[in-house]
């Protein structure tokens, strides 16, 4: 069933056809129903007429028979009354009655006892049919004293002719009896005395046959009842005279039957619809004149409406077949008409599956389907066009995204990835993180070690995205380039500012903090160009005091100021961009400096202000604060903890030499002795000798004006870790570390004579550091000692 419903739902043609056919069926049924109702009514009336006519005809016929009996009886009475003295003539009269009326059953002309004295007590001329002949005998005997019979007494007592109730006429000769009804009238003499009775009988059986001979319908039948309701005519002969119309109702109460019985007894005429022997039937009834009997014709309804029902069934059948045929043809026709639509649907599905170039069927139609097909074709073309554009746009977007990803990698690749560990450095610990808000960002940080100095910077370019990232890249590379030759942050920033401002057409700028931490001394030189002041987390928490310099990038002539601070061992410098303080949560509230201070204070309390720990705690705090809100700005943090341990000196010696190169052998002897004291091998000793000689000769040659005498003090000191030479002079400021490196891969002809000294120093020592302090040049050379030493 469900499958059928699903099929109907799926098939438009079936659905439409079904609707049309069902509508038609409803119309047909209504029209036919009305017609059938009317026709049935007509048939009913026709049947009533017909039955009534037949009943009337039968009644008339019975009437005529009775009339004939009465007339014949009257004729015979007239004859008998003329010849009352001729007893034998009575036989003639009696006989002639039957001869003239073969359908009479018998006829008696009976006289009072001893009327004919010669005939004795009984005289009755009795004529009766016996087979084909007529027999006339003298009825009446001691065994049959007729003058006590009903038929004799009734006219005598009533003194008028009358019809008897049916009774059995017993024939002594044949010993048979027959149910008869008789018409009796008295015979009188001239004085008016009653002398006898003429009795003419009709066979009830014959009468019944006569009445039943007329059948309006095949299964209809007639009944006749007497005054008492006794059946005289009934198809079931066993009921005749033995049962009354009420007999059956005694066993099974049947009000309709009882009512019929009373109506018939009362001599009424009419029709009743009732249930007889399991069939709906119409009973037409009418009294039979003078006899006091009533007859009825029972017509089963099925008989009356048989032909009508047959016609009705035939018509219904034709209509049903017609509707089914209509349904079939409708489905075929609609399916045929909708076929283009079906093909269109299939093609549309193909297109929907992504095959946009599928060819649409070309219908040469101008109806709705044609329009639909046309519109669909247009839609397909538009779709193809849009998909193409979409593909192109997507591809372009993918390219841009890919470019951005690469750019992001390049940008992050510019930033230092490796942070020194405890094993790498025992003087400083450092960690930084940069989280761009977009693929690429404008924040930057950088650090590197040159000699015994940590160069670092943090910056934030105005704006975000690609432009900011390009500016950031420029800033970072400028920082590297400039700081390679400059050791003072103010100089570095000033030069960077000029370089960047000269090529800054887009009026962008970058806030920048540049610091140079001298590791041996813990002295921090810094220059802040409009950036957030870093936090110092050590003995307490405080901001590093910063001059109000402008950001880098728009005033090329600006002279940035230098600041200096002493960083104590254990102190962490925490640098950040405004992405930290301005990190926003979903309610647009900012993280703010108070929270930064809180996190820093907590970290300090827990002694967890090592760079990596500090930044992790700060990151966690920001994430917790921001929640699910989108990151609004690049976020960069850098933490630098100064951990220099000033170990106790194991060896310390010094020598002061004039600026005379002839003192070099003396210097070399001093160095060699120092090296041997700490147990260095020949090669290391050689390397250090050469490096220190180069450094000292540099000072001898350049620190003092030509011809001017000056002293140079060389200190040798060592602890368990390092051997350190400090070369101090009071000449003009001179930083050998900013000299460019020599290219050792050049050919002999291309090699320059100079620049070798600083190269050898860098190569042979672990670090070189220059400081200008108290108007003195302080150059420090360090060499790490291997553990075995």
């Amino acid at each position: 069933m469900n499958r059928i419903i699903a099929y109907i739902r799926r098939k438009l043609s079936v659905r439409v056809s079904l609707r049309v056919v069902v509508s038609a069926a409803i119309l047909f049924v209504a029209a036919l129903g009305y017609m059938f109702f009317q026709a049935r009514d007509a048939v009913y009336h026709e049947a009533m007429n017909r039955a009534t006519q037949i009943l009337d005809k039968t009644s008339l016929r019975v009437d005529s028979i009775l009339n004939r009996v009465e007339v014949a009886s009257d004729m015979t009475r007239w004859l008998v009354e003329r010849h009352t003295n001729q007893a034998d003539s009575m036989f003639v009269y009696s006989r002639s009655m039957l001869e003239n009326n073969p359908d009479f059953y018998n006829c008696s002309v009976a006289f009072e006892p001893y009327y004919f004295e010669e005939k004795g007590r009984y005289f009755s001329a009795y004529t009766k049919h016996v087979g084909d002949s007529i027999r006339t005998i003298q009825g009446g005997s001691d065994s049959y004293q007729y003058f006590f019979a009903d038929w004799y007494l009734m006219p005598k007592l009533l003194d008028r002719p009358c019809w008897t109730e049916p009774y059995f006429d017993f024939d002594v000769a044949t010993n048979t009896s027959e149910m008869v009804t008789s018409y009796c009238q008295t015979v009188k003499d001239r004085q008016g005395r009653m002398i006898g009775v003429i009795n003419t009988s009709l066979s009830i059986n014959w009468l019944s046959k006569t009445i039943s001979a007329v059948k309006p319908y095949p299964h209809s039948y007639s009944i006749m009842i007497g005054r008492g309701g006794t059946y005289f005519v009934h198809p079931d002969t066993t009921k005749i005279t033995r049962q009354t119309i009420f007999t059956q109702t005694l066993e099974q109460p049947d009000t309709a039957m009882t009512a019929l019985g009373y109506a018939m007894q009362r001599g009424e005429e009419g029709v009743k619809q009732m249930h007889i022997n399991g069939k709906d039937s119409y009973v037409f009834y009418k009294p039979l004149g003078r006899t006091g009997c009533s007859m009825a014709i029972v017509c089963p309804e099925s008989d009356i409406f048989r032909s009508f029902d047959r016609l009705q069934n035939t018509i219904m059948g034709i209509v049903a077949v017609g509707l089914l045929l209509m349904l079939y043809f409708f489905i075929r026709i609609i399916t045929f008409e909708l076929d283009p639509l079906r093909r269109l649907a299939t093609e549309a599905e193909t297109i929907a599956s992504g095959q946009f170039d599928a060819e649409l069927p070309d219908f040469q139609r101008v109806d709705e389907i044609g329009q639909l097909s046309h519109s669909f074709g247009n839609m397909q073309q538009s779709l193809v066009k849009y998909i193409d554009e979409l593909k192109k746009t997507t591809a372009q977007k993918a390219t841009i995204e890919s470019d951005l990803r690469i750019a992001s990698k390049i940008q992050l690749g510019m930033l230092p990835e490796k942070f020194p560990t405890r094993a790498d450095r025992d003087d400083v610990q450092l960690f930084a993180s940069l989280t761009p808000a977009k693929e690429v960002g404008g924040d930057l940080f950088d650090f590197y070690f040159r000699d015994e100095k940590l160069f670092f910077c943090i910056g934030d370019v105005s704006g975000k995205g690609v432009p900011a990232s390009l500016f950031m890249a420029v800033t970072r590379s400028t920082f590297r380039t400039v700081s390679a030759h400059e050791s003072m942050p103010d100089r570095i920033v000033t030069i960077m500012n000029k370089t960047i401002a000269d090529m800054n057409k887009n009026h962008m700028f970058v806030t920048l903090f540049v610091g140079v931490l001298d590791l041996p001394t813990g002295r921090l030189h810094y220059c802040n160009a409009g950036h957030d002041a870093p936090l110092l987390i050590g003995a307490g928490i405080g901001e590093l005091p910063c001059d109000s310099n402008i950001p880098v990038g728009f005033m090329p002539q600006w002279k940035f100021s230098l600041q200096e601070a002493r960083i104590f061992t254990g102190t962490t410098i925490f640098l950040f961009t405004d992405g930290l303080t301005e990190a926003m949560n979903a309610n647009k509230a900012q993280f703010q400096m108070e929270r930064v201070n809180e996190v820093a204070a907590r970290a300090l309390d827990n002694q967890q202000h090592e760079p990596r720990q500090l930044i992790e705690q700060m990151t966690d705090a920001v994430h917790q604060f921001v929640g699910d809100a989108e990151q609004s700005d690049d976020l960069t943090m850098m933490a630098i903890q100064y951990v220099w341990q000033h170990n106790d000196a194991r060896m310390r010696k010094n020598i002061t030499l004039p600026n005379d190169i002839q003192k070099v052998p003396q210097l070399n002897a001093f160095v060699e002795e120092a090296c041997q004291t700490v147990g260095l091998d020949e090669i290391d000793t050689m390397k250090i000798k050469v490096a220190v000689e180069e450094a000292v000769v540099n000072v001898m040659k350049y620190a003092y004006p030509s011809g001017e005498r000056g002293d140079i003090t060389i200190e040798a000191a060592s602890n368990d870790v390092r051997l350190k030479f400090t070369i101090i002079d009071s000449g003009k400021p001179f930083d050998p570390t900013v000299q460019s490196a020599v290219d050792t891969s050049l050919s002999a002809q291309e090699r320059k004579i100079g620049g070798l000294g600083i190269h050898i120093m860098r190569q042979n020592m672990d670090s070189i550091n220059y400081e200008r302090s108290d108007n003195r040049n302080v150059l420090t050379l360090r060499k790490k000692l291997n553990k075995k030493n």
Binding site: V664, P665, V690, V742, S747, A748, R751, I760, Q763, N764
Partner: protein
Amino acid sequence: MKTTIQEQDGKMVAILAGSLDTAAAPETEKAMSPLNDVEGKDIIIDCTELEYISSAGLRIFLGILQNAQGKGGQVYIKGINENVHTIFTITGFSNIFKFM
């Protein structure tokens, strides 16, 4: 510091002995100046006895090499000890001189 120049098998040989530091450089440069006048002969610098060299010494070596190569000659360094060779390596001079 001791410098000896002699001709052997048609080649000029300079034998260096001692420490060639900045203080000794001017004297050594002067002693080796005849090598700059050599025409068409290869030069061998015998460093077997050389104990030490600084950048001042390396500059002398480079001067001789540039001069000789300018005249189509070649400069060979002979018998250099490990320590001194380290300095040659560090400065890249090991790439431009030929060793024998």
